[in-house]
Symmetry: C2
Subunit: 444 residues, 2 copies
Amino acid sequence: MTETVKSFLTEKNYTAIKNLLSPMNSADIEHILEELPFEMLPVVFRLLPKELAAETFAEMQSDMQQYLIKKFSDHELKEVLSEMYVDDTVDLIEEMPANVVSRILKYSDPETRSAINAILQYPSDSAGSIMTIEYVELKAHMTIDDAFSIIRRTGVDKETVYTCYVTDGNRKLIGVVTVAEMFLSDPSTKIGEIMETNVIFVNTRDDKEAAAITFNKYGFLALPVVDNEQRLVGIITFDDAIYVIQEENTEDMEIMAAMSPSDKPYMKTGVLEIVKNRIPWLLLLMISAAFTGGIISGFESALAAQVVLTSFIPMLMDTGGNAGGQASVTIIRGLSLGEIEFKNIFRIIWKELRVALICGVTMAAANFIKIMLVDQVSALIAAVVCFTLLATVLIANVVGCILPVLAKKVGFDPAVMASPFITTIVDALSLLIYFGIARLLLGI
Amino acid sequence: MTETVKSFLTEKNYTAIKNLLSPMNSADIEHILEELPFEMLPVVFRLLPKELAAETFAEMQSDMQQYLIKKFSDHELKEVLSEMYVDDTVDLIEEMPANVVSRILKYSDPETRSAINAILQYPSDSAGSIMTIEYVELKAHMTIDDAFSIIRRTGVDKETVYTCYVTDGNRKLIGVVTVAEMFLSDPSTKIGEIMETNVIFVNTRDDKEAAAITFNKYGFLALPVVDNEQRLVGIITFDDAIYVIQEENTEDMEIMAAMSPSDKPYMKTGVLEIVKNRIPWLLLLMISAAFTGGIISGFESALAAQVVLTSFIPMLMDTGGNAGGQASVTIIRGLSLGEIEFKNIFRIIWKELRVALICGVTMAAANFIKIMLVDQVSALIAAVVCFTLLATVLIANVVGCILPVLAKKVGFDPAVMASPFITTIVDALSLLIYFGIARLLLGI
């Protein structure tokens, strides 16, 4: 597609580009534009119908947006901004340098500008920071007919018209009513009679992840956001919730792999930024691993007496890391989906102990046979290795399930307690056991 | 809450339970029921209003559902089933033993039964398997007024009324129109004039993950599902898409931690089932790690000469695993979000090489200082360790970024190529380099 657009551009066949792009969805147009050289962007962008242009603009990566804004005339900028939803404008502003921000604010209308400023005040991980202010607000005394005319009159500027919010004289949220429910009642019915008064909402200061989980739980189209006086200040729509869910999942995976989370796509992240997200963790884990090395140094004479023991160290370390990683990731995910809570900790430990026992005994047995047949060392050495393996798996599973639960309890992100961290702890414990048993059984 | 319900139950104060639960959302009621002993379930369940009862039933874990079905009279079962959406009934059937399934099918009405049977034919990871058949179908010649009366008449049984689908005489999908758009046009306008004809849809046989990604991309409320002749057969609603997204994320995390994915919550999964998901991977990785051990055995005499080299093995192995894990998880996530494609492979390798160079040199330098100051071994040994460290990080990052991309290219799940797998490969390579450099510099 991008190639077609490019060739139309060189032929200066603008009508063809217009006809090609106009029936498309903004997400698809963005995908095509993404592959164009920046200098071609403004021409193609100006060929799009006004509303579609704004939608496409909202979908773009920030570097493309910044380039376009630089090329926009004041009039063009104003037009794009007037078509955008406030939450998208806020996202845009958060990514732009100061001079671009002041230009954006200058060309937003005053009401939008104050809404933007209000949303920008909320912490970046709060529900307030992802909400939008374009919702349909009704009063309890209105009839369904009144409601439908409000929707007809103002709906085109609202992010969703399907869920409407009912407020009292102080703008306090008192009810919620859906268009589907309004369809099913007589048009003269008062909103107050059919509205749901048991409203589920989030506070502006709640964590945006908590808001996303609420969505997932109830299957709502939109979730109202209120301030401390329970006054309605915005809504979060389901598409933003999906975005937050994906973002949180990415973050969890990054943290589990011992990286600082980044909200930029990989292809757009610079080398130094990637290094910055990774190297503190690598150094930290390297220093911890040095302690494990210290344990080996402490048993150097034992190893010198039985060098063959060294060759089983990688297998013991890797298996410990793998078993601990399995347990920790299972628990971390269960915690973040709300399936596991702190009060379950003893049931979890008991379950993981039994899993570890079965896995450990099976692997120890397999290993014993392999060592006797393939490595052909003494049965005593095989016994040392296999006992250590069993103990390692037991410890790994218990450490792997306890640490994430404790981390969550004391307010840390449980995802930190994934494989890399667990591996380092289990490695050290496993080697201590290895040399301990070796000393006991082999008398070294 | 559960305690309150329990105490009302012992007081036989059923009205209080009814008043407490009736205004609640089904998801919250399910959460309360989950903590009740099974034998209390039927009593509480029978106190719920009919529709809410069915909604709550659809939210339950399969063991609770199975218990309730066993206790239901034929009439009760019929009533619950008639209130449930077809996609929820299909989910229910997939979890129930054969005798319960035949009872469910017996008490479903004939039309629903044939729809259920059709959906059950689709592979479990297909778009067809998660669709529902309750959608609003319109014709192009209808007016908006006609459409609204259809919605008024049939809407209560549809999962969403907000997006309506337009089909021709052969039930082929030719357009889509939203209630919001209908609100904004004159009621006498023909649907054919305002419908969007550039319809985005999925095929019944498409992967359900692909369907979820389509949702995420376009921000739709519902996505039509068509057969090979492009006839409309169902829709997927956004709440099912969120569910699929979460399920796929969990699956990815499980695979990345070297486990077979499970779709049951941890607390409801038996020990043997957990073992079954974990042990094949543990054994496989253990066998691979044995090869790494073999490399050490091959250099036993070198190690005997310089036992101190052994003490750096854990640090080298762990760091290689961590660096490789960082690179692979970044790439795996980028692939599954569609941010990275096969054609980017050379840019990725080049980027990871530069990241690895900076990280590797920094860590090697830190390590050199630490070895000289703390371990106080010869500078030559420190050099061996630090060169190996640099080489390990370089290899780890390259292997970590190439393998997931290649896996995807040949049709495997890239998530398999995460830390545990990468660690095993990098360990072996790292040790080969270690001993190679040691031989060269130390002449052992």
